[in-house]
Symmetry: C2
Subunit: 219 residues, 2 copies
Amino acid sequence: MKRVTQLGPGRPRLEPRRRAGQTPRAEILDAAAELFTGNGYGSTSTRAIADAVGIRQASLYHHFASKDDILDALLGETITAPLKLAERLAESDAPAAVRLYALARFDVSQLCAARWNLGALYLLPELRGERFAAFRARRDDLRRHYEILAAAVISEAGNPTVPGADLLPFRLVESVINIRSDEGAPPRYADQLIPDAMLRLLGYQEDLARTRAAALKLG
Amino acid sequence: MKRVTQLGPGRPRLEPRRRAGQTPRAEILDAAAELFTGNGYGSTSTRAIADAVGIRQASLYHHFASKDDILDALLGETITAPLKLAERLAESDAPAAVRLYALARFDVSQLCAARWNLGALYLLPELRGERFAAFRARRDDLRRHYEILAAAVISEAGNPTVPGADLLPFRLVESVINIRSDEGAPPRYADQLIPDAMLRLLGYQEDLARTRAAALKLG
């Protein structure tokens, strides 16, 4: 039998805490993120998550009613901050190129800085169900922010560009997830490469170093 | 008990064939692709695949020793033709832009035409194991072909571009997988948008309609 350590009020734990996170909830999310991205979502049980945290399965259910709820919380975390920034930038009167740069740079940095490559879960078939409709709607919102900013950059730059190019900045940001997966480490160069590349693709021909500096003040 | 229909020599079938594919092997692959992309890889058993085809599990094992073998065969199919084209294009003396256009257009068309969005499986953690080392090596080969062609386009175009832009054509092609997943249907516009966009990103300023026409002759 495993030794039970009493650490919190009324929450028996099988082992001392050894997870990233200040709270049991954060520890559960960290363990789940590691297992979902490392072993696969379908192959991970709530039991395995509880074991990885060192708590009983019943304690896990005190925080999350289901594995889907854990996934929803994790995916929500990847969207919340960039969506908030996008909403703030939509109110700004800075040039569209500076605003798009600020959003993309922040989003790429966050995808790189996260402890686990959670974006790799965006393509899970499970996300197409009703349970994740709210997450999908928020992600669609973020995508629309990119598309609106990109269209504004094209219009402000006034140079010929490829029809439909406004769809691609969001996709270039997402590509960081694939690069991180292939390289086995977050691509440190991406928070400059990706925003630089998207502006050039949109026909923007101003000096990128100055745009970047302006974006850093804004973001 | 299900009724057993005898259709092939020594291979009892629970139901008549109702799958895409001319052979039992092709039917198994089609059913597995639907289940892997629709329900998730970890959540799909070989039993479920056999049931979907209407054959016994033992018959499935006659064709594939394991679920991983089925996944490997499916993923291999997504790489074989573009890799073959890339190898042929490497020998061609056409301009790099025309060759890159031909490769990207073909690859995007194939990702769109496939019955199931198999590229969504590229980020599965299962692929990081030794079992899929050969697949990963072939996919790395394909990526290198894109990077070499992209560097040649930058060099031939001779225009200033973003450092590292040669990494992005491969990623733009992959983004078709994400667009297809989000839109719920293959993006018919992508086989022009993606190659056009990558050439512009690499500083290529020639007429894209002519480049496309030349690429169609080559591919």
